[in-house]
Symmetry: C2
Subunit: 162 residues, 2 copies
């Protein structure tokens, strides 16, 4: 299959200047502010995005290094497949975060709960819609994270994937 | 910023042979089965993925055509910005669906709730984790979809973005 070329449509700004020390998921970054600077050429695509309280950011894990297909995630001492974890070292280094949209000013979105390193290239913005994206927790199984997700708020990126 | 090159890691199989008639989100495809054929070269990356009841598929909307930055989505007669909607015509044609993982057999994942056209190139698989990805519906605003999301189960892709 042919390679797919993506072009960054903007840049993500946050207080986190390097992977080490960055919160590892949005809930671990609750209230932390950042911004999404959309290239003005794409600003028209933001029409009505401010009606949504949350947006999904897709972005390029531009600092991650190539990795084996199994490795230890931040919250466990056992190795798992890269497709069973959310770390930045993966075959296609695309990151996904659901963040809170506070305000839009022209091509700039002010956001909260940001777990993304400053300067990260933005690939897409999608409105977060619980009716599309959320599964009731009853009946959802989260594998190796069942016994480990409690570590979320106390675990930071330790730089292992950069 | 430099372009980012993604390489498909597999292919998505579904009963939907063309965009027209395809359900427009996973809940509108409840129970419909498909499979994710991961390239055997990446099969090791699937270790422990079967512990998760749901996975996030990122894929290439390979049939979508270039579009203006504002257009009418399937469920509304008003135009919105592409970043306020989920349609396949967008600057970087990356799709996202949360599907139910039924079974893994080596490099093949059997899934349900599939809203993806057969033959779609797969870019990434991430485990779905409500503690990371889900927002309580209380307090979530969904903009223009508030008055339109009720049309989800009765609306199909009409081919407008292909």
């Amino acid at each position: 299959m042919e390679p797919i070329v993506c072009r960054p449509i903007g840049i993500i700004r946050s207080p986190f200047k390097e992977p080490r020390g960055t919160p590892i998921q949005p809930p671990a970054a609750a209230g932390i502010e950042g911004s999404v600077e959309v290239d003005p050429a794409y600003a028209k695509g933001l029409k009505h995005v401010d009606g949504f309280s949350h947006i999904i950011l897709l972005y390029h894990f531009h600092l991650s290094r190539p990795s084996p297909l199994q490795l230890k995630p931040f919250m466990d001492d056992e190795a798992h497949g890269v497709f069973a974890m959310r770390g930045s070292s993966r075959p296609n280094t695309i990151g996904l975060s659901v963040v809170r949209l506070i305000e839009r000013r022209e091509n700039i979105l002010r956001v909260q709960d940001i777990d993304i390193v400053d300067g990260t290239p933005l690939l897409d913005i999608k409105p977060y819609v619980p009716q599309f994206d959320a599964q009731d927790r009853v009946g959802v199984r989260i594998g190796w994270l069942e016994d480990n997700v409690h570590k979320l708020s106390t675990t930071k990126d330790d730089g292992r994937f950069a």
